[in-house]
């Protein structure tokens, strides 16, 4: 279904069924013009629309017969909210759009969950996440200097923090060479499994 979009848009495919593969030709039927023309127009319009939104949507859908445009944004957090939003999207029942919305959301569920489980590289680097619930410490001992601070260069495997869980000190290590661009948790606060601790920008040259 996203087939009608130019791959260069790199929109994550809206999951599964193609219930909405509304016959585009008929929808756009107009003697003079070819389907290709229409597809071009659609693609250009879509590209402009996308370039005008700062945050990449998780789904875009355009339809030309009685024009229909859909954008959907997905949060990193639990997938439910989008479901929520979209479940409300029950409108003119003739519109396959409803179905698409449905797919986008329900399909999105799995997708998003997966993402959240294994945080993707942040735009500006790699996130180091908590491997366990516990208390986050930036330095080996109270009062001593932190393992790393913003701007420091680190090597893969280098210890950058500690998580204490039930008196057990678990070292947090950098998973890539690079530069520490952000420390997201303050010293001594407690973290859950998967919480973002630091962000490391790949070393230049890599």
């Amino acid at each position: 279904m996203t087939g009608l979009l130019d791959p260069s848009l790199r929109v994550p495919p809206v999951p599964v069924d193609t219930a909405d593969t509304c016959p585009l030709p008929s929808a756009l039927a107009e003697p003079a013009r070819t389907v290709a023309d229409d597809l071009d127009d659609v693609r250009r319009s879509a590209q402009r629309l996308l370039s005008s939104v700062d945050r990449r949507p998780s789904a875009l859908r355009i339809r030309a017969g009685e024009v229909l445009v859909e954008l959907e944004w997905t949060d990193e957090q639990p997938p439910a909210p989008q479901h929520a939003a979209l479940s409300g999207l029950t409108v003119p029942q003739a519109a396959p759009a409803v179905v698409v919305a449905a797919e986008a959301a329900s399909g999105g569920a799995a997708a998003v969950a997966a993402v959240a489980a294994a945080p993707a590289p942040a735009a500006n680097g790699f996130d180091v996440c908590a491997s366990t619930v516990g208390t986050f410490y930036r330095s080996p001992e109270p009062g001593t200097a932190p393992f790393v601070t913003e701007g420091d260069h680190v090597r893969r495997g280098q210890q950058v923090a500690i998580i204490e869980v039930m008196k057990l000190m678990i070292p947090v290590e950098a998973e890539h060479d690079g530069r520490v661009v952000a420390v997201h948790v303050t010293d001594g606060t407690s973290v859950e499994y998967g919480d973002r601790l630091l962000t490391i920008a790949p070393a230049t040259g890599h």
């Binding site: 997938p79 479901h83 329900s106 569920a109 366990t132 057990l168 859950e192 499994y193």
Partner: protein
């Protein structure tokens, strides 16, 4: 009394425990794996902590993560539900050592009763009827062979650390004993890290009947009737009911009193279940003790009008048992069916996945314990239990009719999702089940005949 209960479990039982905590005005802390972040109990809880990734080893069996979650949320009590850490003595001990009330028996009691051989010895000492078998673990295959000869075949070889139907083997042929003893031993070693085994006479056709008991910290206890759990597939219960159909009152009383005697002898505290085998001649024999709330506890709740989880919590808080044996009166009959996300047509393989449609039964005297919902998923990481459908009726026939009606209303659909609903209905409709004369061999008989049916079809087609 404690004020904040951390529920160290997931799925329907976590939700069920949370509900009772609410009614007692207790704060609820849920812990969850990344697989369960959308679980209803997470939404319902006052606080929820993500303790690890999907695999139970790294989350629901991760003691330090759970105890850390308790610390950071100020939980002063932990309810372990069933499975996972519910019968791990170290966990109970760790909780107590941190000043957190563990809702269950004391660690030493869990330890003793968790060791099948030790439990057998203790209960024999308490005067509970036993099947002939070994006193304590059996060292070598030859000793086992000798003993088996004395006991008489068939015998069952069981792992001391076993349970839940794993780590046991029935031996019918003396010539097989040594080999099978060795096999079970290595299996036990790899399954439980404990290769000690013991022997018992095996009853091919017996009924699985268990007693629900409840004890406080002051040596008072009651039993809440019997549950018949004879409908099992591969030693996994699928249908449970109370009262146990057709058992004479005096047998019920003797079994209940025996269980209670054993519990008090062991210094038991909290809710527990004594499992027995009942043979064709009305004799009963001790099997094992489950030191936790049972999956099938709702049937007892419906007939006795008692919230067992509430009693667990109050007893754990040090209150005296409010129930008296002579005050307990069972009314009518209750049945539970475990609807699993599994495919009977493909050897009951679990069929996890997204739930796109879910219609649950409801109406008079129907209770459904589940945390499944339309749009949710059955995670491949855990037990495929989808819902417990429980019904009550003034008598067994009416309860059966109601269960048929309720299962008929049950509808779950999703990509690749299958359930054992129709198989459960088939078991309910079996003449022996209707008559209440079935034993643990019933379900196997049904699956076998079905398998034959399939092959016949195949050969025809």
């Amino acid at each position: 009394m404690f004020t904040t209960v951390l529920i160290a479990n997931r799925g329907e039982i976590a939700l069920r425990v949370a509900r009772t905590c609410r009614e007692l005005g207790l704060r609820v802390v849920a812990v969850y794996s990344t697989e369960d972040r959308d679980a209803p109990v997470v939404r319902m809880a006052d606080e929820a902590v993500c303790i690890g990734p999907g695999p139970a080893r790294a989350s629901y069996l991760n003691m330090s993560a759970i105890l850390e979650a308790a610390r950071r949320t100020g939980a002063d009590a932990v309810h372990p539900g069933y499975g996972f850490l519910s019968e791990v003595p170290d966990f109970a001990e760790a909780c107590e050592s941190l000043g957190i009330t563990f809702v269950g028996p004391p660690a030493p009691v869990i330890e003793q009763l968790g060791d099948k051989a030790a439990a057998r010895a203790a209960m024999a000492a308490a005067g509970l009827p036993m099947l002939p078998g070994s006193d304590g673990p059996v060292g070598c295959p030859d000793a086992a062979a000798r003993l088996a000869g004395e006991i008489g075949y068939p015998v069952i070889v069981k792992a001391v650390a076993g349970g839940g139907g794993r780590g046991m083997q029935v031996v019918t042929e003396p010539s097989d004993l040594v080999r099978q003893f060795r096999e079970v031993r290595s299996a036990a070693q790899s399954l439980f890290g404990d290769d000690r085994l013991y022997l018992e006479r095996y009853l091919p056709a017996a009924r699985h009947v268990e007693v629900q008991i409840l004890c406080d910290q002051y040596g008072d206890g009651v039993y809440l009737g019997l549950r018949d759990c004879s409908a099992q597939r591969r030693r996994q219960k699928i249908i449970e009911e109370t009262p146990a159909p057709g058992l004479p009152d005096d047998l019920v009383r003797r079994m209940g009193e025996a269980a209670l005697r054993g519990a008090l002898a062991a210094g038991y505290v909290g809710a527990g279940t004594f499992e027995f085998l009942v043979d064709g001649d009305g004799g009963f024999h001790f099997m094992e003790v489950n030191c936790r709330i049972q999956v099938e506890h709702p049937v007892t709740e419906l007939t006795h009008g008692v919230d067992l989880v509430r009693e667990q919590l109050l007893v754990a808080a040090g209150e005296r048992l409010g129930l008296r044996q002579d005050g307990l009166q069972a009314r009518g009959a209750a049945i539970e069916c475990r609807v699993n996300a599994e495919d009977p047509a493909r050897g009951f393989v679990p069929s996890p996945g997204r739930i796109t449609e879910l219609r649950l039964p409801a109406g008079p005297f129907v209770r459904v314990d589940t945390d499944a919902y339309s749009g949710g998923r059955v995670s491949p990481a855990y037990d495929p239990l989808l819902a417990k459908v429980v019904v009550w009726g003034p008598d067994r026939p009416q309860a059966l009719e109601r269960m048929r009606r309720a299962l008929g209303e049950f509808h779950a659909a999703g990509p690749g999702l299958a359930t054992n609903r129709d198989f459960l209905l088939a078991v309910l409709d079996h003449p022996r089940f209707i008559a209440g004369t079935h034993d643990t061999s019933l379900v196997t008989a049904i699956t076998d005949s079905r398998a034959r049916g399939l092959t016949e079809e195949a050969s025809i087609g």
